[in-house]
Structures are given as C-alpha cells and as structure tokens.
C-alpha cells in the first residue's frame, strides 16, 4: 500500500505570551496523516494535543504564535495561508468536531438550518435545496425521524444526538481532513461506542484522514491506525496501536499505559507517573522535557531529542528507550 499523506506537519513550534512569561507550548512537533488513515493524539492535559489541532486549523488563541514549522495540506502550507484563504478551506476541506457539542452548536438556530448553512456556504448548495440535503446528512449520521429532528433546537436533543449533529456539520462537505477533539467526552459509554463506530465508518467510506484527540488510550487503540503520544509539547512516541500496547518504547508511554485501568489490572498493579510536567515558561527547558521525571535518564539525555525508527512506522524520541 502506498501511503499518500493528506497532512504533513513538520517542525511545528507554538508559544503563548502570558503575563508571567512566554510558554513554549509546542516544540518541533512533526507527524503525518495519510489519506484514509486515522491517527490519535494522546497525552495528559497540558501535553499540547488540542493546541496542535488549533494551530493546524488556524484557530489558535490570539496570545498564541506559531514560531516555526509547516503544515502541508493539498500542496499548500496551512500555516502560511491568509485568513481568507483558510476560511475557504475550513468547512470544505478541513473540518473539526469540538469537545462539547452543546456549546459548539448555535443554541438559537434549528439544527437542520445549521447543517444547511454549511452546505450553502461551502458546498454550493442553493437555499431551497439545502434543507433536503441537510435531512440527508441527518440520515447519514443515523438520527431517527430526521425530518422532525431537523426542526429541533440543540437544547431539545440529547448529548449523543447533538454530537451526531456536530458530525453531520463536520462531514457535510466531505472534508479531506477531519480533526475530532475528544468527540465523546461527557457521553455515555454506550453512546460513545456508537459515535466512534459512526465516525470510523464515514471516514473509511470517504477516504478521509482523521486526527482524533483523546486521553483515553484504549479508545485510541481501538479506533485508530496509529497513536501519537505527546508529553509537554513534544511528540515522544508514534506507533501502531497494537505495537504501542504490546511494547511501548518511550518510558512515558509505558508509564501512561501502566496507569490506565484495564480489564485485568488490580488497583495495586496500577502505578501513577512520578513527578509533574515541567514549567514550560522556563528558559532553560531541558532537551527532553520528560527527563526530570524519568527513571531511565542517562548522560545523553541533555542532547537534542533523537527521532529513532524502532519498527514498522514506530518512532520514539528517546536516547534510552525501553
């Protein structure tokens, strides 16, 4: 299989200016997503998962600044596009599903209209045709009784339904790249399973590249082709889900797995990760931001982070991997 990259992020660094100093949120982050591939960005809060997505989408907070890097998508660098050019791409080629569907949807507009709006703006649908096309989309995300539900406001629908509306909006224009930022947080496990199946199915059908942001490793392993592990603004490991579960190579990935409750683990067997994230405002941040918490630290760890290929599509950024 020849993989065609849909998105290639290279060398991406992002800083946030705050009153107490400059926070180096992302440093030289690089990964790629192929057409039809689903990757997961996983890590604890503060690891930079969402900032990575926001930077690619061009929706960083005004305090944030991209200091280096490229995000190549369909022959152009998303980070170099003007706001107007980006606005053309977003919604049509690039799409995003946000964490909380209730706050991301317009509360005073009927959900059918919200889907129709996207179709009119980006897919060249005409106003008279759009409502019908919106109902088609509702059918696609398997909302029962779509004609009636199109007339509903978000508050009249359950969380799972609202998330399906979000998915319908995100997928309305058949985007080439979908970013889903914790799309199932706050949903029940049964609903989560249905929603994840649905995203996966639609992605496969349309050959869409998907970046799925989550802190749930098992969820990432079940639904994604590859898992990219982030820690304090660095990518520390990237590997196919099974390889990562079978043999994590970065000490942080291993600790993260050991802290995740699973089927067989007992409470005693679970271990927390010692230490905490380094203060990203420090001027003298170590080359490896995990080294302060790491038990496998060696003298080499002060050198710039390596990117070692340790297996089939398996990269680890560590001088002393497991």
């Amino acid at each position: 299989m020849t993989a065609v990259p849909a998105l290639a992020v290279e060398d991406l660094s992002v800083e946030f200016r705050t009153r107490s100093g400059t926070v180096k949120v992302l440093e030289r982050v690089g990964f790629q997503v192929d057409k039809g591939e689903t990757i997961a960005l996983v890590g604890e809060s503060g690891s930079g998962k969402s900032v990575t997505a926001f930077a690619v989408m061009g929706i960083l907070d005004p305090a944030g600044r991209v200091t280096s890097g490229r995000a190549m998508f369909g022959g152009s660098d998303l980070l170099a596009l003007s706001e107007a050019e980006l606005a053309e791409q977003r919604g049509r080629e690039l799409s995003m599903i946000f964490q909380n569907p209730r706050t991301a949807l317009n509360p005073i507009r009927k959900v059918g209209q919200q889907i129709a709006d996207v179709l009119v703006r980006h897919a060249g649908a005409t106003r008279p045709d759009a409502p019908k096309a919106a109902i088609e989309m509702l059918k696609k995300v398997r909302i029962p009784d779509p004609e009636r539900r199109a007339e509903a406001y978000p508050f009249e629908l359950s969380g799972g339904m609202c998330q399906r509306i979000m998915i319908a909006i995100a997928l309305a224009c058949r985007p080439a790249l979908l970013i889903a930022d914790e799309p199932t947080t706050g949903l029940d496990v049964t609903t989560q399973a249905v929603i994840m199946d649905l995203i996966g199915e639609l992605a496969r059908e349309a050959g869409m590249a998907t970046i799925f942001i989550t802190h749930d490793l098992a969820l990432a392993a079940e639904y994604c082709d590859r898992i990219v592990v982030m820690h304090a603004g660095h990518i520390v490991e990237a590997a196919p889900g099974r390889a990562l579960f079978a043999g994590p190579r970065h000490p942080y990935s291993a600790k993260l797995l050991a802290a995740t409750p699973g089927e067989t683990a007992t409470l005693d067997a679970l271990a927390s990760i010692p230490g905490s994230l380094p203060d990203l405002r420090r001027r003298d941040l170590p080359a490896c931001r995990y080294s302060g918490r790491c038990e496998r630290r060696i003298d080499d760890c002060v050198r710039p982070l390596p990117h070692r290929e340790v297996g089939e599509r398996h990269m680890v950024a560590c001088w002393n991997p497991l």
């Binding site: 604890e44 809060s45 029962p144 359950s158 969380g159 029940d188 496990v189 049964t190 609903t191 989560q192 399973a193 249905v194 199946d197 802190h215 749930d216 490793l217 098992a218 969820l219 392993a221 079940e222 639904y223 889900g241 099974r242 579960f245 600790k255 993260l256 802290a259 995740t260 409750p261 699973g262 089927e263 683990a265 007992t266 409470l267 679970l270 271990a271 927390s272 990760i273 905490s276």
Partner: protein, 317 residues
C-alpha cells in the same frame, strides 16, 4: 454482612405538567453492607443522580424507605435534614471538585466548614482537625491557605475528599470522583479512596461511567436503566458474565485495544423510551433491546434471583 444502608421500594416521580409524572426512580430496592463498595452504573438520564440525591437526603422521595443502620431517614424532610444529627453520617464527594468547591473559600475553610457546622468544633481544635484531615488525604499543609483556582485538579480532588470525610460519615457517596482527572492522577486518588476506606471503615456508593474504574474498586455493582435496577451482583461475576442485555451492551462498549476481544460485541440502536408515564407492562429496555420478544411488550420483567447474590430483570436471562 451487617447491612448499613437499606433502600426499600424507593421511588421519585416528578410532576411534569398536566397529570403526567416522570418516573426518575421507580421502586428501587437494594442494600449496602458495612465496609462494602457498591458501584452504580447506567447512562445519563437513567436516574442515578436522583437516586443519589434521595439517599443523601437532598430530595424527598415519593414513596419507599431509606434506613441507615436501622434509623429511618425517609421520614425526615430534606429541608430539615441539613440540621439533623444524621447529616454527618452520609457525605458526598462531587464529580468535579473544581466546580463543587466554593471559589471564595480557602482549602482550609472548605474542609473546616462541615466540621464547624456538624461537629461544633472551633479555634485550635478545629485547626488541628483540618490539619489532620489534610495529612490523611495527602494534601500538603502549606496548601491549606490556597483558593481552589490555585490548586491542581488532583489537589482539588483531595480537598473534596477531605471535606467529605471530615465529619466521619458511615456512608460516602462518590459521584464520578475521578472523571475530571488525568489517568496518572486518577490512580493516586483511587488508591487514596481505597486506603481511607480501610482506615475509617466507611461504605462507598460509587457512581461512575467508567466501567474499568468500577471493576477496580467495587465489590458489587448495580446496573440502572430508566429508573429501574435491571441487574445486580458481585462485580467480578457481572463483568465476566453479564446477564441483562443492557449490561452486556455496557460492557461491550468498553474500548478494547485487542481486536480479538471485540468479537461478538453488542451495540445499541434506537433511543431510550420516555420516562414520562411509562407503560407499566412494557420492559423499559424494549425497543433498544436486541431481543424484544412479544412478551417484553406485554409483561414488565421483575428482578429475580439467578444465583446466590445475583438478580436480573429480564425474561430471557
């Protein structure tokens, strides 16, 4: 085992206009033993929160009994319960410590408040009690003067636990205590809860969406669906061999890294039935259940024993 909490055909029906009633909790019965951890699972809207609020007496039940170690609590109105001596016996750890702590209280104030009100301590004695509680929950004493926004998620969780155990409750209700935490912090808090239970001899009612956490912590599990308990039994048995189709769907929905374990999983279609004036003859799960035989639409299945400690409400289990 000595029974601590005895819930007997407890019901809460909310009027929703006209003569219609929303059956939030519908004739639920179960017990919690002394020192036992019981998990309560089910999807949003199934009545978990209402049940919890009935038990800790923030809501008045429509009918049924709540007995804590023989003392009847259902007869006391929620309004008067706050000043009642029994208030200290049931305490609660809320879902998101960030939202449930008073932003204008320091950690010390938050922990001291229930002790001052319910144990009538003050001055140096109160101070000592607060420090002892901080030590017990692993909160560094120098953080006691901080406000919630100056604390990390894990530290706020510790404050939430410290204030709940401050008045030495016999029953601690935990409502998704780790849902807002990262996995590495979650482990620490779960271990703390387990250790406190051993030290203080409390019973836990543990409400959670995360079945992997329930499996770790709970001795017994109650599965709730639309106001009814549809299955209950020892945690190990429920996870290994779920009998009710809804329990099977719940367990099937736990994400699996290993593709071989994904075979034969059950996915739920459809939408849940309305909890407003539900037909007393129809199984609450009818319409979403893969079984859905005619009997399910004509006769409500009741909880029945299927093993020494197991009960299921399904005609076909």
């Amino acid at each position: 085992m000595h029974v601590l909490l005895d819930i007997d055909t407890l019901a809460k029906r909310f009027p929703v206009g006209g003569k219609r009633l929303l059956h939030a909790v519908d004739d639920v019965s179960f017990t919690i033993g002394r020192g036992e951890t019981v998990g309560l699972v089910g999807e949003s809207g199934c009545g978990k929160s209402t049940l919890v609020r009935l038990i800790n007496r923030l809501l008045d039940p429509t009918s049924g009994g709540i007995r804590l170690n023989g003392t009847d609590l259902a007869g006391l109105s929620a309004r008067h319960f706050a000043g009642n001596a029994n208030r200290a016996r049931i305490q609660m750890v809320f879902q998101d410590a960030g939202d449930s702590l008073n932003p204008r209280f320091t950690a010390a104030d938050a922990i001291a408040d229930p002790v001052r009100r319910l144990k009538k301590l003050s001055g140096a004695k109160l101070q000592r009690r607060v420090e002892a509680l901080a030590d017990m929950t692993g909160l560094p004493r120098e953080l006691l003067s901080r406000f919630p926004h100056q604390l990390s998620g894990g530290q706020k969780a510790r404050v939430g636990i410290a204030r709940a155990i401050a008045v030495e409750p016999e029953l601690l209700i935990l409502d998704e205590p780790t849902a807002a935490l990262d996995v590495s912090v979650q482990v620490v808090i779960l271990k703390l809860l387990e250790q406190l239970k051993q030290e203080l001899g409390m019973s836990y009612l543990f409400v959670s969406h995360d079945l992997n956490v329930v499996r770790l912590l709970c001795d017994r599990v109650l599965v709730m669906y639309l106001g009814k308990i549809v299955e209950q039994g020892p945690a190990g048995e429920i996870f290994a061999d779920p009998k009710h189709p809804y329990t099977r769907a719940l367990i099937s929905a736990i994400p699996q890294a290993d593709p071989e374990k994904r075979i034969g999983r059950l996915r739920l279609g459809g939408e849940p039935r309305s909890p407003i004036d539900p037909d007393p003859k129809v199984c609450r799960f009818y319409g979403r259940c893969p079984k859905g035989e005619p009997q399910c639409a004509s006769e409500m299945p009741l909880l029945r024993s299927v093993g020494p400690a197991r009960q299921v409400a399904c005609h076909f289990a």
